[in-house]
């Protein structure tokens, strides 16, 4: 089987309750009808702006949020149908790395206690050999054995993230959901963590669902990219294809607006205005139409389904048209900032070697 994870029509809606009687006054449509597959050893990046549902998607895959509907198959087994006992068993095979290395470790437990927890729970170690197992795990993630008896607050952000990675690796999972694992770290440490993730992927054959809003990191690490907007995947393609030939106007905007640290460089900005609409009151038709420079009447009336266009899956009525003001070639080119980020990542790799 070449398919490790299959997500089918996954939907997660949160009811919004107000008032004394907790009446439901609305629904946040965090994730709607998301489908994708992931092969063993592959990295799928999920990108999108804040609040687009990418973290909810990651947590729903692990059933940290109970999905509203849809199917998640891990090795062909439907995760959404598992009871508590089998779910625990399944969590041996899928793990998560969190964004905030300060919040994701229990401050009252030493690193050793934190790492021993999954090992003992899933029978990967016995109380007799737990010391050695934890030492092994922690050195695998680039820390030393003597780090293990410390508390999280004694570590730097990068070191804590290594502990977080070690915890996720403890049960030897095949799938790891990385929920913005580097966005809380500074750039040089980011590069180290990204490289660590890549090394581990090669060594252990891990598959990653890599949630990020950092296109530089995504470009560096991902095989495929899914772009989310307001809970739906609007474009999905191989990384090269997506960056060189973005089809959806939203993807083009994302790529062209990757941050540039140098303020003297004029911004080549695609015309997108306004903020993200509320996920409680989605626009009619295509959710992107209020901000889309290409929107026509059809976009306001009818929601575009995902369709195949070359190697790309895209949900846009006008994806195959060339439109004034949406210069695909210019937008598709890597911005200088992106190139610099990639350079740093490469540098870190060669320095490590």
């Amino acid at each position: 089987m070449t398919e490790l994870l299959r997500v089918q029509n996954l939907t997660k809606h949160f009811p919004v309750k107000r008032g004394l009687l907790r009446r439901q006054v609305g629904t946040v449509q965090a994730v709607t009808d998301v489908s994708f597959t992931l092969a063993p050893g592959e990295t799928l990046a999920v990108v999108g702006e804040s609040g687009c549902g990418k973290s909810t998607l990651g947590r729903a895959i692990l059933r940290l949020h109970e999905p509203s509907s849809g199917e998640i198959r891990l090795d062909g087994e439907d995760v959404t149908a598992l009871d508590t006992r089998d779910l625990r068993e399944a969590r041996k095979r899928m793990q998560i790395i969190f964004q905030d290395p300060y919040g994701s470790l229990n401050p009252r437990m030493t690193v050793r206690e934190t790492l021993a927890e999954p090992l003992l729970l899933h029978g990967m170690a016995t109380p007799a050999n737990i010391r050695a197992k934890v030492d092994e795990l922690i050195t695998m993630c680039g820390l030393s054995a003597w780090h293990a008896d410390r508390y999280p607050h004694e570590f730097s952000g990068g070191q804590r993230q290594r502990v977080g990675i070690a915890r996720a690796l403890a049960t030897r999972p095949r799938l790891i959901v990385c929920d913005e694992p580097v966005s809380a770290l500074d750039v040089s440490v980011q590069a180290q963590i990204v490289n660590l993730l890549q090394d581990l992927q090669r060594q252990l054959g891990l598959a990653y669902v890599f949630i990020s809003h950092d296109l530089g990191v995504v470009r560096h690490i991902a095989n495929r990219v899914a772009v989310m907007y307001l809970g739906r995947i609007v474009e999905q393609a191989d990384t090269e294809e997506l960056f060189l030939n973005p089809r959806h106007p939203y993807t083009r905007t994302l790529i062209s607006s990757a941050p540039r640290p140098d303020p003297t460089v004029a911004r080549h900005k695609l015309p997108v205005e306004g903020g993200t609409p509320s996920a409680m009151a989605l626009p009619s038709g295509c959710a992107f139409h209020p901000r889309c420079p290409m929107a026509v009447d059809r976009c306001r009336a009818e929601r575009p389904e995902l369709r195949q266009l070359g190697g790309t899956l895209v949900a846009c009525h006008r994806a195959d048209e060339a439109v004034e003001g949406m210069d695909v070639a210019a937008a598709g080119k890597d911005s200088p900032a992106l190139l610099r980020r990639l350079e740093i990542l490469e540098q870190a790799r060669t320095m490590q070697a």
């Binding site: 793990q95 969190f98 905030d100 009252r108 607050h153 004694e154």
Partner: protein
């Protein structure tokens, strides 16, 4: 560049240990808290070993009635703090009375703390039961402790234990409320999700994640509550609901001394001062505990 993050051998094992020492040092720096803690320790030890150090039988009536304390003109070293209206040695009665007062405070806070924080933390962990626990709480909050004490005494007869139980029950809603809000803060942390992702049971998450991270804040609240409970307990004794006469309790001693306030003010003031000291010390020490424990064991 890649080496800076992982290797800092200079700061290696020696600063791995002092997590426990650092709060001790912080406490040492806080003079008022230190003084309060020392005083509280002395009071507690004195109460515990009261039978060994009390100069007289606390219930023995001597012939010198309303003897003033030693530092006044007519004072004698035989009765250091003087005697009360029935000629009993006040120092001995204070020592025994403190015992009872501390017992009331500790047990009542213990009952309220365990049941209340248990309920509060459960409510924070399970949003489904939260509204029920909180409404029950509101009902209990609308019931004054003194009234509850009166009701219990009416049913069980006067004595220390009905008062302790009443004070314990009266402490539950406050503790639950505080524990719930502390717990909600902890439950929102990412490490709770991390624990769930690992596959831990609810019980383990409760014990190892929620409780461990809330307990210090809850203890601080309880230390403040301890002072309040002692005051209410003294008030109940003062009203004649608590300890029964031959036994001594600080609030009751103050009540008995009230009759002689004009001729022998020491009979009422000395136990009152001791209550004041206990409550003050508990509050100051509790406050310091917050300062010391809250910054997340930061070194």
């Amino acid at each position: 560049m890649s080496a800076t993050d992982t290797q800092t051998p200079a700061a290696a094992p020696q600063d791995a240990a002092p997590v426990h020492k650092s709060w001790w040092r912080a406490l040492m720096r806080d003079r008022a808290a230190m003084l309060a803690l020392i005083l509280l320790t002395i009071i507690v030890i004195a109460a515990i070993i009261a039978p060994l150090i009390a100069p007289h039988d606390p219930n023995l009536n001597s012939r010198s009635v309303m003897q003033p304390p030693v530092w006044t003109e007519r004072g004698t070293w035989e009765f250091i703090l003087g005697t009360d209206g029935q000629g009993r040695d006040i120092l001995s009665r204070i020592l025994y009375g403190t015992r009872l007062t501390l017992l009331i405070g500790l047990v009542a806070v213990g009952i309220g703390g365990v049941i209340g924080s248990g309920l509060g933390l459960l409510a924070s962990m399970y949003p489904k039961i939260d509204p029920w626990v909180m409404r029950l709480n509101d009902m209990m909050l609308s019931f004054p402790a003194i009234l509850l004490g009166l009701a219990l005494v009416a049913v069980a007869g006067p004595g220390v234990w009905p008062v302790i139980v009443a004070l314990g029950i009266a402490s539950i809603p406050d503790c639950a409320r505080i524990a719930r809000s502390i717990g909600i803060g902890v439950m929102g942390q990412e490490y709770i999700e991390a624990g769930r992702a690992v596959g831990l049971s609810d019980w383990t998450i409760f014990r190892r994640y929620l409780l461990r991270n809330s307990i210090s804040s809850i203890m601080i609240f309880l230390s403040l509550r301890f002072g309040q409970v002692i005051l209410i307990g003294a008030a109940l004794s003062f009203l004649g609901l608590g300890a029964r006469p031959p036994a001594s309790e600080l609030g009751m001693m103050a009540a008995q001394g009230r009759d002689f306030l004009l001729f022998a003010p020491h009979i009422a003031t000395i136990p009152s001062v001791v209550i004041f000291l206990i409550v003050l010390c508990a509050n100051v020490a509790g406050d310091a505990l917050r300062d010391v424990l809250d910054p997340r064991l930061k070194s």
